[in-house]
Amino acid sequence: MYVAVKGGERAIENAHALLADIRRGDRDVPALSLAQITNQLALGVDRVMCEGSLYDRDLAALAIKQARGDLIEAIFLLRAYRTTLPRFGTSEPLKTAAMDIRRRISATFKDLPGGQVLGPTFDYTHRLLDHDLTEERDVAPAPTATTDNQPFRSVSELLADDALIECETNVEGEPRDLTRGPLSFPANRDLRLQNLARGDEGFLLALAYSTQRGYGRNHPFAGEIRYGEIEVELFAEEVGFAVPLGPVMLTECQMVNQFVGSVTEAPRFTRGYGLAFGQSERKAMSIALVDRALRARELGEVTGAPAQDEEFVLSHSDNVQATGFVEHLKLPHYVDFQSELGLLRQLRAEFSARTTSDTDPVLRDAAE
């Protein structure tokens, strides 16, 4: 006999208790400390901060621990925390040219002011599992060298000296913020870049890849990728100048793309731009490629590829939204399903009444 579904509340509490238990796992294994996560899973922390839109290594580490290593769940935790925080103001624009460089490479010039600085990267490693890491071993500190203090001018600036690349134009007023206002279309580049910076790395990677395979090709060169530390400043009305708030680690990617020109305008390269928290090169490069693809209409190019479709890209890039809606299919839908079931049964009943009452209409048509 059917008993009305009761006890949901107890079931939920028990499920939460089980989750807490299983999250901790075997009690004989030491619990992860946040310091271990921020230090040794630093790139995971970077991704969570970037897509969670909150620069706080400790909170991101806490989110990763609480989410059992599920980064999208961790991003969600950070976002839900962030949304309640008060806003004090808008920082001064970051001067990425003044970045304290940890890594800077260019694929367009063999050498350039400041040089190529490889920094900590997987790029040239052989992807062989290092069984030495199975056990804890001492790691010797990396060798260091003194810097020649030569500033790292950005590749785009160098190209701009000869007017070989388009100039970015300043947008008047404060940039818009899609976490404070609804996103509407067409969206300007400030909102697009914000959306992409918060967007899912995997989604943007796939879109960026699609442009390389011909779905909205834009002939990119990695003009420059730089990663390092930069000071965030806030203009304080009370004292009349910008005060430092603290440093953040950032990855910036400047793509140099196919040139445009016209009868009245000399041809020049165009740009795609990507900026991400932490060391997130795959993400920054993907943003830059998709940013450039989304400028297709503005630059008068043929559109139609998925990566060039602003509504498609911006509406589906957010993994917190996407995972919520995909996973909401787990919620009960028996009311709507019952409606569908009712109609389907009616249609089937009508179908069988039709087929038993007279001959197949197709055959009848043929006979006539």
Binding site: A4, E9, T83, P182, S315, V326, H333, V335, E350
Partner: protein, 292 residues
């Protein structure tokens, strides 16, 4: 008892004011989708964040809240949302429809008629009735602005041509106050007539899609149809196995592995009330059943 560190009903007052402004605009233009700066909530998008933000913005300390999902107070997500407001707002909650001042719902309208003292808050997954006919928002906005709803009628007509019936059984499109075509959220079309001329204010919130819309009290809401194919609310040809109601929307429950099934009210409060209020009312319904 509310959780320290969070404002009453979770959202900060600034956000509530922003949402209330959107609500007022929505009430002023019945059926029109007002964009709003939806916040990230501590529950997933698609799980009622729009409804939760509406409820958080209209809730006062004296309100009595009821939360239902699929008509039931005891489904997991309804429990979760109710607990959220108990924790963050400390408001009184109820499962009795007539006791509630605010009812947050997913996919159903309560069977018990609502009053002027009540607000019904719907959780909306896809607010745009034209979405699956034209996915582009810029285009949808233009169609709404020009009342260009021909495409919707063509879709309904094609249903009839193909199946002999309009094949939309839930989230059945309506026209509000003779102006905007609106998605009533995925309520079964059985509930559509309750939208019309309803005494309570009806608010619709789509968090992920960042839209709020409303049906003010006593507003005309018409389900789209054709003269020769009038709108028909669907109801299972059965009575509730628990309370014998013949006028409520029913859930089908499979009771064993041999396909035995029974039908019970989807609105659990309605069903329990009928059973608690003694055999009198049930007997009346019984008489109706036997007459048929």
């Amino acid at each position: 008892m509310t959780t320290p560190g969070y404002n009453f009903a979770y959202l900060d007052e600034q956000t509530k004011r922003m949402i209330r402004r959107a609500i007022l605009k929505a009430i002023a233009i019945p059926g029109y989708q007002v964009p709003f700066a939806s916040r990230e909530m501590p529950m997933p998008y698609g799980w009622g964040t729009g409804g939760v933000q509406l409820t958080a913005s209209i809730l006062g300390p004296d309100d009595v809240l009821k939360v239902i999902d699929q008509g039931s107070d005891d489904t997991t997500n309804a429990v979760s949302i109710r607990k959220f407001f108990v924790k963050t707002a400390g408001v009184r909650t109820t499962t009795v429809t007539s006791e509630a001042t605010v009812v947050q719902t997913r996919h159903r309208i309560p069977e018990t008629p609502l009053t002027e003292q009540q607000i019904l808050v719907y959780q909306v997954p896809i607010p745009e009735p034209l979405r699956f006919l034209e996915p582009r928002e810029t285009e949808q906005r233009r169609m709404h602005a020009l009342s260009e709803y021909g495409l919707m009628h063509v879709k309904l007509y094609e249903d009839i041509a193909r199946h002999g019936h309009i094949a939309t059984t839930y989230a059945y499109p309506v026209k509000v106050d003779s102006r905007y075509v609106m998605d009533p959220s995925p309520i079964p079309k059985f509930d559509n007539p309750k939208l019309n001329d309803c005494a309570a204010l009806q608010l619709f919130g789509a968090g992920r899609e960042k839209r709020i819309y409303a049906i003010p009290p006593y507003t005309q809401v018409v389900s789209l149809d054709f003269e020769d194919h009038p709108f028909e609310p669907y109801r299972q040809d059965a009575a509730c196995a628990l309370c014998q109601a013949t006028d409520s929307y029913l859930d089908e429950v499979i009771t064993d592995d041999r396909g035995t099934r029974m039908f019970v009210c989807s609105d659990t409060d309605f069903c329990e009330m009928r059973r608690a209020n003694g055999p009198d009312k049930v007997a009346v319904e019984h008489a109706n059943v036997t007459r048929e």
